[in-house]
Protein backbone atom coordinates (compact mmCIF):
# COMPACT_ATOMS: atom_id res chain seq x y z
CA UNK A 1 0.00 0.00 0.00
CA UNK A 2 2.92 2.30 0.50
CA UNK A 3 3.77 1.92 -3.19
CA UNK A 4 1.36 4.73 -3.88
CA UNK A 5 3.11 6.93 -1.39
CA UNK A 6 6.52 5.80 -2.57
CA UNK A 7 5.77 6.98 -6.07
CA UNK A 8 4.25 10.19 -4.79
CA UNK A 9 7.27 10.99 -2.66
CA UNK A 10 9.64 10.20 -5.50
CA UNK A 11 7.83 12.25 -8.11
CA UNK A 12 6.64 15.40 -6.41
CA UNK A 13 9.58 17.55 -5.56
CA UNK A 14 8.62 20.96 -4.32
CA UNK A 15 5.49 21.89 -6.20
CA UNK A 16 2.67 23.64 -4.49
CA UNK A 17 -0.83 22.25 -4.48
CA UNK A 18 -2.09 25.68 -3.46
CA UNK A 19 -0.34 28.95 -4.12
CA UNK A 20 -1.80 32.40 -3.59
CA UNK A 21 -0.32 35.80 -4.23
CA UNK A 22 -1.54 38.93 -2.48
CA UNK A 23 -5.00 37.47 -1.97
CA UNK A 24 -7.29 40.16 -0.57
CA UNK A 25 -11.00 40.11 0.22
CA UNK A 26 -13.14 42.80 1.74
CA UNK A 27 -16.70 42.66 2.97
CA UNK A 28 -17.77 46.25 2.99
CA UNK A 29 -15.42 48.01 5.38
CA UNK A 30 -14.11 44.85 6.93
CA UNK A 31 -10.96 43.30 5.53
CA UNK A 32 -11.35 39.53 5.68
CA UNK A 33 -8.06 38.68 3.97
CA UNK A 34 -5.14 41.00 3.60
CA UNK A 35 -2.52 40.24 0.95
CA UNK A 36 -2.26 36.56 1.81
CA UNK A 37 0.53 34.55 0.20
CA UNK A 38 -0.39 30.99 0.98
CA UNK A 39 1.91 28.15 -0.03
CA UNK A 40 0.78 24.60 0.51
CA UNK A 41 3.25 21.96 -0.67
CA UNK A 42 1.82 18.98 -2.45
CA UNK A 43 1.21 15.99 -0.24
CA UNK A 44 1.41 17.99 2.97
CA UNK A 45 -1.17 18.44 5.68
CA UNK A 46 -1.50 22.16 6.21
CA UNK A 47 -3.33 23.38 9.27
CA UNK A 48 -4.64 26.92 9.07
CA UNK A 49 -5.26 28.48 12.44
CA UNK A 50 -6.74 31.71 13.60
CA UNK A 51 -9.31 33.22 15.90
CA UNK A 52 -12.95 33.34 14.83
CA UNK A 53 -13.38 35.86 12.08
CA UNK A 54 -9.69 35.82 11.24
CA UNK A 55 -10.48 34.95 7.64
CA UNK A 56 -9.93 31.20 7.50
CA UNK A 57 -13.24 30.22 5.93
CA UNK A 58 -12.99 33.10 3.48
CA UNK A 59 -9.59 31.88 2.32
CA UNK A 60 -10.98 28.41 1.73
CA UNK A 61 -13.98 29.72 -0.19
CA UNK A 62 -11.75 31.80 -2.41
CA UNK A 63 -9.73 28.72 -3.30
CA UNK A 64 -12.88 27.08 -4.62
CA UNK A 65 -14.05 30.20 -6.39
CA UNK A 66 -17.13 30.40 -4.22
CA UNK A 67 -16.23 34.01 -3.53
CA UNK A 68 -14.43 36.52 -5.64
CA UNK A 69 -11.20 38.03 -4.39
CA UNK A 70 -10.86 41.79 -4.53
CA UNK A 71 -7.27 41.48 -5.59
CA UNK A 72 -4.57 38.87 -5.84
CA UNK A 73 -4.32 35.48 -7.48
CA UNK A 74 -5.00 31.98 -6.25
CA UNK A 75 -3.84 28.82 -7.97
CA UNK A 76 -4.71 25.23 -7.23
CA UNK A 77 -2.50 22.70 -8.99
CA UNK A 78 -1.49 25.47 -11.33
CA UNK A 79 -5.09 26.31 -12.23
CA UNK A 80 -6.16 29.90 -11.73
CA UNK A 81 -9.19 29.59 -9.47
CA UNK A 82 -10.98 32.49 -11.05
CA UNK A 83 -10.66 31.25 -14.61
CA UNK A 84 -11.06 27.55 -13.92
CA UNK A 85 -13.45 27.47 -10.97
CA UNK A 86 -15.37 24.31 -11.94
CA UNK A 87 -12.18 22.45 -12.85
CA UNK A 88 -10.62 23.38 -9.53
CA UNK A 89 -13.68 22.18 -7.67
CA UNK A 90 -13.40 18.87 -9.49
CA UNK A 91 -10.00 18.39 -7.81
CA UNK A 92 -11.22 19.23 -4.35
CA UNK A 93 -13.08 17.44 -1.59
CA UNK A 94 -14.65 20.25 0.36
CA UNK A 95 -16.25 20.22 3.76
CA UNK A 96 -17.74 23.68 4.23
CA UNK A 97 -18.16 25.47 7.52
CA UNK A 98 -21.94 25.32 7.28
CA UNK A 99 -23.73 22.13 8.13
CA UNK A 100 -25.65 22.10 4.90
CA UNK A 101 -25.67 18.89 2.95
CA UNK A 102 -28.07 19.74 0.18
CA UNK A 103 -31.61 18.78 -0.63
CA UNK A 104 -33.56 18.24 2.53
CA UNK A 105 -36.10 15.88 0.99
CA UNK A 106 -33.51 13.45 -0.32
CA UNK A 107 -32.33 10.45 1.64
CA UNK A 108 -28.63 10.16 2.40
CA UNK A 109 -28.40 7.32 -0.06
CA UNK A 110 -30.05 9.32 -2.82
CA UNK A 111 -27.88 12.34 -2.19
CA UNK A 112 -24.74 10.24 -2.41
CA UNK A 113 -25.88 8.89 -5.77
CA UNK A 114 -26.57 12.45 -6.84
CA UNK A 115 -23.12 13.69 -5.86
CA UNK A 116 -21.41 10.61 -7.31
CA UNK A 117 -22.75 11.60 -10.74
CA UNK A 118 -20.76 14.82 -10.52
CA UNK A 119 -17.42 13.21 -9.76
CA UNK A 120 -16.29 10.70 -12.36
CA UNK A 121 -13.53 9.61 -9.98
CA UNK A 122 -16.06 8.51 -7.33
CA UNK A 123 -15.03 5.22 -5.72
CA UNK A 124 -18.27 3.47 -4.78
CA UNK A 125 -16.54 0.65 -2.90
CA UNK A 126 -14.74 3.16 -0.75
CA UNK A 127 -17.94 5.15 -0.28
CA UNK A 128 -19.73 2.05 0.96
CA UNK A 129 -16.93 1.34 3.40
CA UNK A 130 -17.06 4.93 4.65
CA UNK A 131 -20.81 4.71 5.15
CA UNK A 132 -20.12 1.94 7.61
CA UNK A 133 -17.13 3.60 9.22
CA UNK A 134 -18.93 6.91 9.63
CA UNK A 135 -22.19 5.26 10.66
CA UNK A 136 -24.33 7.02 8.12
CA UNK A 137 -27.90 5.85 8.00
CA UNK A 138 -28.76 5.51 4.35
CA UNK A 139 -32.49 5.99 4.62
CA UNK A 140 -32.61 9.08 6.78
CA UNK A 141 -33.76 12.23 5.07
CA UNK A 142 -31.19 14.99 4.93
CA UNK A 143 -33.63 17.36 6.58
CA UNK A 144 -33.81 15.08 9.59
CA UNK A 145 -30.10 14.83 10.25
CA UNK A 146 -28.42 16.27 13.29
CA UNK A 147 -25.40 18.55 13.05
CA UNK A 148 -23.03 15.62 13.64
CA UNK A 149 -24.81 13.40 11.10
CA UNK A 150 -24.55 16.10 8.47
CA UNK A 151 -20.89 16.64 9.16
CA UNK A 152 -20.13 12.96 8.71
CA UNK A 153 -22.06 12.93 5.46
CA UNK A 154 -20.14 15.94 4.20
CA UNK A 155 -16.89 14.19 5.07
CA UNK A 156 -17.95 11.14 3.13
CA UNK A 157 -18.79 13.24 0.08
CA UNK A 158 -15.40 14.91 0.27
CA UNK A 159 -13.38 11.72 0.65
CA UNK A 160 -15.19 9.28 -1.62
CA UNK A 161 -13.89 10.63 -4.91
CA UNK A 162 -10.30 10.59 -3.64
CA UNK A 163 -9.58 14.18 -4.68
CA UNK A 164 -6.00 15.43 -4.98
CA UNK A 165 -6.84 18.19 -2.52
CA UNK A 166 -8.95 18.08 0.60
CA UNK A 167 -10.19 21.39 1.93
CA UNK A 168 -11.74 20.82 5.34
CA UNK A 169 -13.29 23.70 7.22
CA UNK A 170 -13.70 22.57 10.83
CA UNK A 171 -14.20 18.95 9.80
CA UNK A 172 -14.79 17.68 13.30
CA UNK A 173 -17.17 20.44 14.31
CA UNK A 174 -20.29 19.08 15.97
CA UNK A 175 -18.87 15.61 16.46
CA UNK A 176 -18.43 13.89 19.78
CA UNK A 177 -14.86 12.99 20.86
CA UNK A 178 -15.09 9.32 19.89
CA UNK A 179 -16.25 10.16 16.39
CA UNK A 180 -13.67 12.89 16.10
CA UNK A 181 -10.90 10.40 16.75
CA UNK A 182 -12.41 8.02 14.23
CA UNK A 183 -12.61 10.71 11.57
CA UNK A 184 -8.98 11.66 12.01
CA UNK A 185 -7.91 8.04 11.88
CA UNK A 186 -9.91 7.63 8.68
CA UNK A 187 -8.17 10.67 7.33
CA UNK A 188 -4.74 9.23 8.07
CA UNK A 189 -5.73 5.99 6.36
CA UNK A 190 -7.13 7.93 3.44
CA UNK A 191 -3.78 9.66 3.07
CA UNK A 192 -2.03 6.31 3.06
CA UNK A 193 -4.26 5.03 0.26
CA UNK A 194 -4.29 8.06 -1.99
CA UNK A 195 -1.68 10.82 -2.26
CA UNK A 196 -3.56 13.87 -1.11
CA UNK A 197 -2.82 17.39 -0.04
CA UNK A 198 -4.88 18.50 2.91
CA UNK A 199 -5.84 21.96 4.08
CA UNK A 200 -7.61 21.95 7.44
CA UNK A 201 -8.93 24.66 9.66
CA UNK A 202 -9.81 23.63 13.16
CA UNK A 203 -10.26 24.86 16.69
CA UNK A 204 -9.20 21.50 18.10
CA UNK A 205 -5.52 22.00 17.38
CA UNK A 206 -4.31 19.17 19.57
CA UNK A 207 -6.26 16.68 17.48
CA UNK A 208 -4.26 17.42 14.39
CA UNK A 209 -0.98 17.89 16.21
CA UNK A 210 0.62 14.80 14.76
CA UNK A 211 -1.11 15.00 11.42
CA UNK A 212 0.03 18.53 10.61
CA UNK A 213 3.19 19.03 8.56
CA UNK A 214 2.72 22.73 8.09
CA UNK A 215 1.04 25.41 10.08
CA UNK A 216 -0.27 28.78 8.98
CA UNK A 217 -1.76 31.37 11.29
CA UNK A 218 -4.17 34.07 10.22
CA UNK A 219 -4.59 37.09 12.39
CA UNK A 220 -7.06 39.77 11.33
CA UNK A 221 -6.73 38.65 7.74
CA UNK A 222 -2.95 38.59 7.63
CA UNK A 223 -0.93 35.41 7.38
CA UNK A 224 1.46 36.09 10.23
CA UNK A 225 3.38 32.86 9.97
CA UNK A 226 3.52 29.92 7.61
CA UNK A 227 6.08 27.26 8.47
CA UNK A 228 6.66 23.54 8.92
CA UNK A 229 5.26 22.61 12.27
CA UNK A 230 8.65 21.71 13.78
CA UNK A 231 9.81 25.20 13.04
CA UNK A 232 6.80 26.68 14.80
CA UNK A 233 7.44 24.58 17.84
CA UNK A 234 11.12 25.46 17.72
CA UNK A 235 10.54 29.19 17.70
CA UNK A 236 8.23 29.19 20.69
CA UNK A 237 9.35 28.38 24.19
CA UNK A 238 8.01 28.83 27.66
CA UNK A 239 10.45 30.51 29.97
CA UNK A 240 10.32 30.34 33.71
CA UNK A 241 11.98 33.46 35.00
CA UNK A 242 13.02 35.05 38.25
CA UNK A 243 12.65 38.77 37.88
CA UNK A 244 14.50 41.25 40.04
CA UNK A 245 12.54 44.04 41.66
CA UNK A 246 13.40 46.81 39.24
CA UNK A 247 13.19 44.94 36.02
CA UNK A 248 12.40 46.36 32.62
CA UNK A 249 11.60 44.22 29.67
CA UNK A 250 14.06 44.57 26.81
CA UNK A 251 12.42 46.72 24.18
CA UNK A 252 12.71 44.34 21.26
CA UNK A 253 11.27 41.36 23.12
CA UNK A 254 7.57 40.67 22.91
CA UNK A 255 6.32 39.46 26.26
CA UNK A 256 2.76 38.26 26.77
CA UNK A 257 1.71 40.58 29.51
CA UNK A 258 3.26 43.35 31.49
CA UNK A 259 4.58 42.24 34.80
CA UNK A 260 2.07 42.84 37.54
CA UNK A 261 3.34 44.44 40.67
CA UNK A 262 6.24 42.83 42.39
CA UNK A 263 5.77 39.31 41.17
CA UNK A 264 9.05 37.45 41.37
CA UNK A 265 8.50 34.32 39.37
CA UNK A 266 6.78 34.38 36.00
CA UNK A 267 6.19 31.89 33.26
CA UNK A 268 6.04 33.41 29.82
CA UNK A 269 5.60 32.07 26.34
CA UNK A 270 7.95 33.98 24.07
CA UNK A 271 8.48 33.75 20.34
CA UNK A 272 12.00 33.74 19.04
CA UNK A 273 15.19 31.78 18.80
CA UNK A 274 15.80 30.21 22.19
CA UNK A 275 19.40 31.21 22.45
CA UNK A 276 18.78 34.79 21.41
CA UNK A 277 15.83 35.23 23.73
CA UNK A 278 17.64 33.70 26.67
CA UNK A 279 20.52 36.05 26.08
CA UNK A 280 18.29 39.14 25.93
CA UNK A 281 16.53 38.09 29.10
CA UNK A 282 19.72 37.36 30.95
CA UNK A 283 21.41 40.60 29.95
CA UNK A 284 18.32 42.49 31.06
CA UNK A 285 18.75 41.08 34.54
CA UNK A 286 16.23 38.24 34.62
CA UNK A 287 17.23 34.79 35.71
CA UNK A 288 16.16 32.07 33.34
CA UNK A 289 15.22 29.11 35.48
CA UNK A 290 13.81 26.85 32.86
CA UNK A 291 13.06 26.72 29.16
CA UNK A 292 10.40 24.29 28.01
CA UNK A 293 9.15 23.49 24.55
CA UNK A 294 5.43 23.40 23.97
CA UNK A 295 2.98 21.21 22.14
CA UNK A 296 1.69 22.63 18.88
CA UNK A 297 -1.55 23.99 20.28
CA UNK A 298 0.12 26.11 22.90
CA UNK A 299 2.87 27.20 20.57
CA UNK A 300 0.28 28.39 18.08
CA UNK A 301 -1.59 30.26 20.78
CA UNK A 302 1.41 32.53 21.15
CA UNK A 303 0.53 33.96 17.75
CA UNK A 304 -3.15 34.37 18.38
CA UNK A 305 -4.59 37.45 19.99
CA UNK A 306 -5.39 37.37 23.67
CA UNK A 307 -8.79 38.26 24.99
CA UNK A 308 -8.77 41.99 25.08
CA UNK A 309 -5.76 42.46 22.85
CA UNK A 310 -5.92 42.34 19.05
Amino acid sequence: MSNVLDRALDGAVSTYAVSTQGLTKRYGDEVALNAVDLRIPEGSVFVLLGANGAGKSTALKLLLNLERADSGVAEVFGLDTRRHGPRVRAQVGYVPERHDAGYRWMTCDRLLKHVAAYYPAWDQTYADRLIGALEIRRNRKIGGLSKGDTRRLQLLMALAHRPPLLVLDEPTDGLDPVVRKRVLTLLAEHLADSPTTVLITTHHIHEVENLADHVGILRAGRLVIQVPREELQRTVRRYRLDLPDQWEAPRDLVIPAPRSGRVREVQWTIVGDERAVTERLTTSGARVREVVSLPLEEAALAFLPDEGTR
Binding site: G11, A12, E42, R87, A90, G102, R104
Partner: protein, 298 residues
Protein backbone atom coordinates in the same frame (compact mmCIF):
# COMPACT_ATOMS: atom_id res chain seq x y z
CA UNK B 1 6.03 15.33 -13.03
CA UNK B 2 4.71 18.64 -11.85
CA UNK B 3 1.17 17.99 -10.68
CA UNK B 4 -0.88 14.87 -10.03
CA UNK B 5 -3.20 13.63 -12.75
CA UNK B 6 -6.15 15.97 -12.55
CA UNK B 7 -9.67 14.65 -12.18
CA UNK B 8 -11.99 15.45 -15.07
CA UNK B 9 -15.14 17.48 -14.39
CA UNK B 10 -18.46 15.76 -15.12
CA UNK B 11 -19.94 15.70 -18.62
CA UNK B 12 -22.75 18.17 -19.15
CA UNK B 13 -25.16 15.49 -20.39
CA UNK B 14 -24.66 13.62 -17.13
CA UNK B 15 -25.29 16.78 -15.17
CA UNK B 16 -28.59 17.39 -16.94
CA UNK B 17 -29.61 13.76 -16.50
CA UNK B 18 -28.84 13.90 -12.80
CA UNK B 19 -30.75 17.18 -12.46
CA UNK B 20 -33.79 15.63 -14.12
CA UNK B 21 -33.77 12.97 -11.44
CA UNK B 22 -33.27 15.51 -8.68
CA UNK B 23 -36.03 17.81 -9.98
CA UNK B 24 -38.41 14.89 -10.38
CA UNK B 25 -37.74 13.98 -6.76
CA UNK B 26 -38.22 17.57 -5.65
CA UNK B 27 -41.62 17.71 -7.35
CA UNK B 28 -42.85 14.50 -5.82
CA UNK B 29 -45.17 16.20 -3.36
CA UNK B 30 -46.79 18.64 -5.82
CA UNK B 31 -47.11 15.70 -8.22
CA UNK B 32 -49.06 13.76 -5.63
CA UNK B 33 -51.31 16.73 -5.06
CA UNK B 34 -51.87 17.15 -8.78
CA UNK B 35 -52.65 13.46 -9.09
CA UNK B 36 -55.25 13.81 -6.39
CA UNK B 37 -56.82 16.69 -8.30
CA UNK B 38 -56.89 14.63 -11.47
CA UNK B 39 -58.55 11.75 -9.70
CA UNK B 40 -61.12 14.14 -8.35
CA UNK B 41 -61.64 15.61 -11.77
CA UNK B 42 -62.07 12.19 -13.28
CA UNK B 43 -64.61 11.35 -10.68
CA UNK B 44 -66.60 14.50 -11.30
CA UNK B 45 -66.49 14.16 -15.09
CA UNK B 46 -67.51 10.53 -15.05
CA UNK B 47 -70.14 11.24 -12.48
CA UNK B 48 -71.63 13.92 -14.66
CA UNK B 49 -71.46 11.70 -17.69
CA UNK B 50 -73.30 8.91 -15.93
CA UNK B 51 -76.04 11.27 -14.84
CA UNK B 52 -76.63 12.22 -18.43
CA UNK B 53 -74.29 15.12 -18.74
CA UNK B 54 -72.20 15.81 -21.79
CA UNK B 55 -69.23 13.84 -23.02
CA UNK B 56 -65.74 15.26 -22.71
CA UNK B 57 -64.23 16.14 -26.04
CA UNK B 58 -60.53 15.85 -26.52
CA UNK B 59 -59.53 19.38 -27.35
CA UNK B 60 -56.06 19.82 -25.94
CA UNK B 61 -55.64 23.33 -27.24
CA UNK B 62 -58.58 24.61 -25.27
CA UNK B 63 -57.16 23.90 -21.88
CA UNK B 64 -55.17 26.61 -20.18
CA UNK B 65 -53.99 24.15 -17.55
CA UNK B 66 -50.64 23.33 -19.22
CA UNK B 67 -49.76 27.00 -19.52
CA UNK B 68 -50.66 27.51 -15.89
CA UNK B 69 -48.58 24.51 -14.84
CA UNK B 70 -45.64 25.85 -16.82
CA UNK B 71 -46.02 29.13 -15.01
CA UNK B 72 -45.78 27.56 -11.58
CA UNK B 73 -43.24 24.88 -12.41
CA UNK B 74 -40.06 26.89 -11.72
CA UNK B 75 -41.25 27.50 -8.17
CA UNK B 76 -41.09 23.76 -7.60
CA UNK B 77 -37.93 23.25 -9.60
CA UNK B 78 -36.01 25.80 -7.56
CA UNK B 79 -37.56 25.00 -4.22
CA UNK B 80 -35.01 25.17 -1.47
CA UNK B 81 -32.26 26.43 -3.73
CA UNK B 82 -30.50 29.60 -2.82
CA UNK B 83 -30.16 31.09 -6.29
CA UNK B 84 -28.16 34.05 -5.12
CA UNK B 85 -25.39 33.35 -2.66
CA UNK B 86 -24.19 30.02 -1.37
CA UNK B 87 -26.06 26.84 -1.99
CA UNK B 88 -25.10 23.19 -2.16
CA UNK B 89 -25.70 23.32 -5.90
CA UNK B 90 -22.93 25.84 -6.46
CA UNK B 91 -20.33 23.79 -4.58
CA UNK B 92 -20.36 21.16 -7.31
CA UNK B 93 -17.77 21.15 -10.07
CA UNK B 94 -19.94 22.78 -12.74
CA UNK B 95 -19.86 26.30 -14.08
CA UNK B 96 -22.54 28.18 -12.20
CA UNK B 97 -24.38 29.57 -15.22
CA UNK B 98 -24.28 26.26 -17.04
CA UNK B 99 -25.51 24.52 -13.93
CA UNK B 100 -28.44 26.91 -13.60
CA UNK B 101 -29.40 26.34 -17.22
CA UNK B 102 -28.99 22.59 -16.77
CA UNK B 103 -31.51 22.76 -13.97
CA UNK B 104 -33.90 24.79 -16.10
CA UNK B 105 -33.52 22.24 -18.89
CA UNK B 106 -34.13 19.40 -16.44
CA UNK B 107 -37.27 21.14 -15.21
CA UNK B 108 -38.47 21.52 -18.78
CA UNK B 109 -38.10 17.80 -19.38
CA UNK B 110 -40.16 17.07 -16.29
CA UNK B 111 -42.70 19.64 -17.44
CA UNK B 112 -43.13 18.01 -20.83
CA UNK B 113 -43.65 14.67 -19.17
CA UNK B 114 -46.25 16.25 -16.92
CA UNK B 115 -48.08 17.83 -19.86
CA UNK B 116 -48.01 14.54 -21.71
CA UNK B 117 -49.46 12.79 -18.71
CA UNK B 118 -52.18 15.43 -18.51
CA UNK B 119 -53.05 14.96 -22.18
CA UNK B 120 -53.16 11.23 -21.89
CA UNK B 121 -55.54 11.61 -18.96
CA UNK B 122 -57.72 13.96 -21.01
CA UNK B 123 -57.67 11.55 -23.93
CA UNK B 124 -58.68 8.60 -21.80
CA UNK B 125 -61.42 10.64 -20.19
CA UNK B 126 -62.65 11.59 -23.60
CA UNK B 127 -62.72 7.96 -24.72
CA UNK B 128 -64.48 6.82 -21.60
CA UNK B 129 -67.17 9.47 -21.84
CA UNK B 130 -67.60 8.93 -25.56
CA UNK B 131 -66.45 12.36 -26.48
CA UNK B 132 -64.99 13.30 -29.79
CA UNK B 133 -61.29 12.59 -29.68
CA UNK B 134 -60.64 14.78 -32.65
CA UNK B 135 -62.19 17.68 -30.88
CA UNK B 136 -64.78 18.14 -33.58
CA UNK B 137 -67.82 20.01 -32.51
CA UNK B 138 -70.56 22.06 -34.01
CA UNK B 139 -70.17 25.79 -33.65
CA UNK B 140 -71.96 28.89 -34.70
CA UNK B 141 -69.87 31.17 -36.83
CA UNK B 142 -70.41 34.90 -37.16
CA UNK B 143 -70.82 36.30 -40.68
CA UNK B 144 -67.88 38.61 -40.16
CA UNK B 145 -65.11 39.08 -37.60
CA UNK B 146 -66.75 42.21 -36.27
CA UNK B 147 -68.62 41.61 -33.06
CA UNK B 148 -72.16 42.93 -33.57
CA UNK B 149 -73.95 45.08 -31.05
CA UNK B 150 -76.45 43.45 -28.80
CA UNK B 151 -79.70 42.54 -30.39
CA UNK B 152 -78.57 43.42 -33.89
CA UNK B 153 -77.76 39.98 -35.07
CA UNK B 154 -80.31 37.90 -36.85
CA UNK B 155 -80.10 34.17 -36.02
CA UNK B 156 -80.29 33.34 -39.66
CA UNK B 157 -77.01 35.13 -40.28
CA UNK B 158 -75.20 32.60 -38.15
CA UNK B 159 -73.64 29.71 -39.93
CA UNK B 160 -73.54 26.32 -38.28
CA UNK B 161 -70.23 24.74 -39.01
CA UNK B 162 -68.54 21.60 -37.89
CA UNK B 163 -65.20 22.69 -36.64
CA UNK B 164 -62.32 20.22 -36.71
CA UNK B 165 -59.17 21.64 -35.25
CA UNK B 166 -55.98 20.95 -37.10
CA UNK B 167 -54.14 18.01 -35.45
CA UNK B 168 -51.06 20.18 -35.19
CA UNK B 169 -52.88 21.94 -32.37
CA UNK B 170 -52.17 18.92 -30.22
CA UNK B 171 -48.77 20.55 -29.79
CA UNK B 172 -50.34 23.62 -28.21
CA UNK B 173 -50.21 22.40 -24.60
CA UNK B 174 -46.51 21.62 -24.95
CA UNK B 175 -45.59 24.91 -26.55
CA UNK B 176 -47.82 26.90 -24.23
CA UNK B 177 -46.26 25.30 -21.16
CA UNK B 178 -42.78 25.79 -22.61
CA UNK B 179 -43.47 29.45 -23.23
CA UNK B 180 -44.70 30.22 -19.73
CA UNK B 181 -42.00 28.02 -18.20
CA UNK B 182 -39.24 29.88 -19.97
CA UNK B 183 -40.62 33.25 -18.94
CA UNK B 184 -41.04 32.34 -15.29
CA UNK B 185 -37.70 30.55 -15.22
CA UNK B 186 -36.15 33.77 -16.43
CA UNK B 187 -37.84 35.66 -13.63
CA UNK B 188 -36.74 33.01 -11.12
CA UNK B 189 -33.11 33.20 -12.18
CA UNK B 190 -33.02 36.91 -12.53
CA UNK B 191 -34.85 38.13 -9.48
CA UNK B 192 -34.51 37.37 -5.80
CA UNK B 193 -38.20 37.02 -5.05
CA UNK B 194 -39.76 35.65 -8.23
CA UNK B 195 -43.09 34.73 -6.69
CA UNK B 196 -43.75 38.39 -5.96
CA UNK B 197 -43.31 39.17 -9.63
CA UNK B 198 -45.03 36.15 -11.13
CA UNK B 199 -48.13 36.61 -9.05
CA UNK B 200 -47.71 40.25 -8.23
CA UNK B 201 -47.69 41.73 -11.72
CA UNK B 202 -50.91 40.18 -13.03
CA UNK B 203 -52.54 40.78 -9.68
CA UNK B 204 -51.68 44.46 -9.63
CA UNK B 205 -52.96 44.97 -13.16
CA UNK B 206 -56.24 43.38 -12.12
CA UNK B 207 -56.32 45.49 -8.98
CA UNK B 208 -55.75 48.65 -10.95
CA UNK B 209 -58.55 47.69 -13.26
CA UNK B 210 -60.89 46.99 -10.39
CA UNK B 211 -59.86 50.17 -8.68
CA UNK B 212 -60.56 52.11 -11.80
CA UNK B 213 -63.97 50.57 -12.07
CA UNK B 214 -64.79 51.18 -8.43
CA UNK B 215 -63.60 54.75 -8.42
CA UNK B 216 -65.11 55.29 -11.84
CA UNK B 217 -61.80 56.48 -13.19
CA UNK B 218 -62.64 55.46 -16.70
CA UNK B 219 -59.28 56.03 -18.27
CA UNK B 220 -57.56 53.89 -15.66
CA UNK B 221 -59.97 51.05 -16.18
CA UNK B 222 -59.65 51.50 -19.89
CA UNK B 223 -55.86 51.51 -19.70
CA UNK B 224 -55.79 48.33 -17.66
CA UNK B 225 -58.26 46.53 -19.85
CA UNK B 226 -56.49 47.76 -22.99
CA UNK B 227 -53.23 46.42 -21.61
CA UNK B 228 -54.77 43.08 -20.75
CA UNK B 229 -56.52 42.93 -24.07
CA UNK B 230 -53.32 43.69 -25.94
CA UNK B 231 -51.17 41.22 -24.08
CA UNK B 232 -53.79 38.56 -24.06
CA UNK B 233 -56.18 38.85 -26.95
CA UNK B 234 -53.94 40.31 -29.57
CA UNK B 235 -53.24 38.43 -32.77
CA UNK B 236 -49.93 37.27 -31.35
CA UNK B 237 -50.90 37.74 -27.74
CA UNK B 238 -50.70 35.31 -24.89
CA UNK B 239 -53.90 33.60 -25.87
CA UNK B 240 -52.31 32.72 -29.17
CA UNK B 241 -49.65 30.93 -27.19
CA UNK B 242 -52.04 29.33 -24.74
CA UNK B 243 -54.91 28.20 -26.91
CA UNK B 244 -54.15 29.32 -30.46
CA UNK B 245 -56.67 32.06 -29.73
CA UNK B 246 -59.49 29.59 -29.30
CA UNK B 247 -60.43 31.48 -26.15
CA UNK B 248 -60.47 34.97 -27.49
CA UNK B 249 -62.10 34.09 -30.75
CA UNK B 250 -65.15 32.92 -28.84
CA UNK B 251 -67.60 35.43 -27.62
CA UNK B 252 -71.14 35.67 -26.35
CA UNK B 253 -73.65 37.59 -28.43
CA UNK B 254 -77.22 38.61 -27.80
CA UNK B 255 -79.44 37.87 -30.77
CA UNK B 256 -82.35 39.92 -31.97
CA UNK B 257 -84.54 37.29 -30.37
CA UNK B 258 -83.02 38.14 -27.03
CA UNK B 259 -81.28 34.80 -26.71
CA UNK B 260 -77.61 34.83 -25.75
CA UNK B 261 -75.49 32.44 -27.72
CA UNK B 262 -71.83 31.55 -27.85
CA UNK B 263 -70.33 32.21 -31.24
CA UNK B 264 -66.96 32.22 -32.91
CA UNK B 265 -65.59 35.16 -34.81
CA UNK B 266 -63.14 33.07 -36.76
CA UNK B 267 -61.25 29.85 -36.50
CA UNK B 268 -57.77 29.50 -35.03
CA UNK B 269 -55.20 29.86 -37.72
CA UNK B 270 -52.22 27.51 -37.76
CA UNK B 271 -49.90 30.06 -39.30
CA UNK B 272 -50.76 32.72 -36.76
CA UNK B 273 -50.34 30.28 -33.96
CA UNK B 274 -46.96 29.09 -35.20
CA UNK B 275 -45.66 32.62 -35.46
CA UNK B 276 -47.03 33.66 -32.08
CA UNK B 277 -45.56 30.59 -30.44
CA UNK B 278 -42.18 31.21 -32.01
CA UNK B 279 -42.23 34.82 -30.86
CA UNK B 280 -43.17 33.98 -27.29
CA UNK B 281 -40.75 31.10 -26.96
CA UNK B 282 -38.07 33.23 -28.54
CA UNK B 283 -38.79 35.96 -26.03
CA UNK B 284 -38.70 33.40 -23.23
CA UNK B 285 -35.33 32.07 -24.32
CA UNK B 286 -33.94 35.58 -24.64
CA UNK B 287 -35.19 36.50 -21.19
CA UNK B 288 -33.74 33.30 -19.80
CA UNK B 289 -30.32 33.97 -21.27
CA UNK B 290 -30.40 37.52 -19.95
CA UNK B 291 -31.39 36.33 -16.49
CA UNK B 292 -28.70 33.65 -16.57
CA UNK B 293 -26.13 36.43 -16.81
CA UNK B 294 -26.82 37.11 -13.16
CA UNK B 295 -25.67 33.60 -12.32
CA UNK B 296 -21.99 33.57 -12.87
CA UNK B 297 -18.90 32.00 -11.46
CA UNK B 298 -17.34 34.40 -9.06
Amino acid sequence: MSHPALHPPPRFANVVREQVRAVALALRVPAMAALAVLVLGSGLAIGEFITGGGAVDFAPELSMVPAFVGLLFPIGVWKGENRFGTSFLWLLPVDRRQHALAKVAAGWVCLMVTVLFFLVWLFVLSLVTGGNILGEHAVQLLPSTVIPEARTLDPAALRAVRYAPDPVFWLVPFTAATGTYLLTSAVTLGVRYPVRWIIGVPLSVLLVSALGAAARIDWLKLLASRLLRFVFDGRYGLDALFTARAESLKTAVVLTTGKTVSVWRAFPDVGDWALATTLWIGAGLAALMAAALRQREK
